[in-house]
């Protein structure tokens, strides 16, 4: 299920965490440079500390770019969810028409007979069927959008955990600079855990893309049904011939 309140919390926390990344990026950089210039750090060690600092800086840039792309779609799941509900009201309108255009209650033409009268009475069922088809299609569109909203929620819940982990790796990097000559070990650990976390975000994007691809092709199928010859001859609403 999609929970709009939960979603908006997740969404707020992601943007909040994302805003922390550049701040930590700056402070890690400052700490790395401070440590590299300490009197007790030999120059060969300072070089590797500076090198790791550069890599951490680049990793944070990657994180910022990646997450900025990821949050482009942050508004979509809520929009899908709300739109899914509106499709249900469209479905109600179409199935209502299908029910009202009932061959059992319409088509009693009394004395009116002949080609035009026959054309009319035989037209009722296809008209009703066309409206019913629009109702069924609307319901399916609603279902596809709901599935996308739910996948979106799961995706961003996963992203939130990973963004939080990434920020933790930045905090760990800053803390590692306090360990003096042992700093490269901590910096390297932060670098690898940060890179691993970003890799996991990329993998999540891949999983979501696959799920969304399924729903997009479902929408194309529904599109095809709204042009299908059974309910819509020649891809259009049935027209009463000879009337």
């Amino acid at each position: 299920m999609f929970d709009a309140t939960q979603y908006s919390q997740i969404s707020d926390r992601i943007t909040g965490k994302l805003a922390e990344i550049p701040k930590h990026q700056e402070s890690v950089q400052a700490e790395v440079l401070r440590l590299a210039n300490e009197w007790y750090i030999p120059s060969w060690l300072a070089e590797s500390i500076v090198y790791l600092g550069e890599k951490l800086w680049e990793l944070a840039n990657w994180a910022i770019n990646l997450l900025n792309e990821v949050i482009e779609g942050l508004g979509a799941p809520v929009m899908f969810w709300e739109t899914a509900y509106k499709w249900e009201s469209a479905r109600g309108i179409f199935t209502g028409v299908a029910a009202e255009l009932n061959p059992a209650s319409l088509g009693s033409t009394g004395d009116w007979k002949g080609a035009a009268a026959t054309a009319y009475t035989t037209a009722i069922t296809p008209q009703s069927a066309a409206a019913a088809r629009l109702g069924a299609s609307s319901d399916k569109v609603s279902g596809a959008l709901q599935a996308c909203a739910v996948s979106g929620l799961a995706f961003y819940a996963g992203v939130l955990l990973l963004v939080a982990q990434f920020v933790m790796s930045q905090i760990a990097a800053a803390a590692a600079t306090a360990t003096g000559v042992a700093a490269p070990v901590g910096l390297l650990a932060s670098l690898s855990s940060g890179a691993f976390t970003l890799g996991a975000i990329v993998a999540l994007v891949g999983t979501l893309s696959a799920l969304l691809g399924v729903q997009a092709s479902q929408l194309s199928t529904i599109h095809g049904e709204a042009e299908d010859g059974t309910a819509f001859p020649g891809g259009h609403w049935p027209v009463v011939a000879g009337a």
């Binding site: 319409l106 569109v141 729903q215």
Partner: protein, 103 residues
């Protein structure tokens, strides 16, 4: 007036049915505008873009079908109203000539 018989029943039935088709035409028109309003216009949805695009297309085609349906139901309503009017006219003319004969 006594219970309507013959042509009057036909005229009344056709008028009633014309009303139904007109109502359903209005309903389909409402369906068309409801669906047309759901198409996401030019939004940036990042990874969700593929769904947004497919959805825009499907809503356009469903709104289009509903619009066609509204037009067709209205045409059927018109046909029924014209047929009913035709009956009334014919019967009216026949009654008039009958009265002339009775004079």
């Amino acid at each position: 007036m006594s219970t309507p018989t013959g042509y009057q029943v036909t005229v009344d039935t056709l008028d009633d049915e014309a009303k139904t088709w007109q109502q359903e035409s209005n309903a389909l028109e409402q369906g068309q505008s409801t669906v047309a309003a759901l198409a996401f216009n030019r939004i940036e949805a990042g990874v969700f873009q593929i769904v947004v695009d497919a959805h825009t297309q499907v809503s356009q085609v469903i709104a289009g079908r509903a619009g066609e349906g509204a037009a067709e139901c209205e045409r059927i309503a018109g046909l029924l109203r014209r047929t009913a009017a035709g009956y009334e006219q014919t019967e009216g003319a026949a009654a008039a000539s009958f009265r002339l004969l009775q004079k």
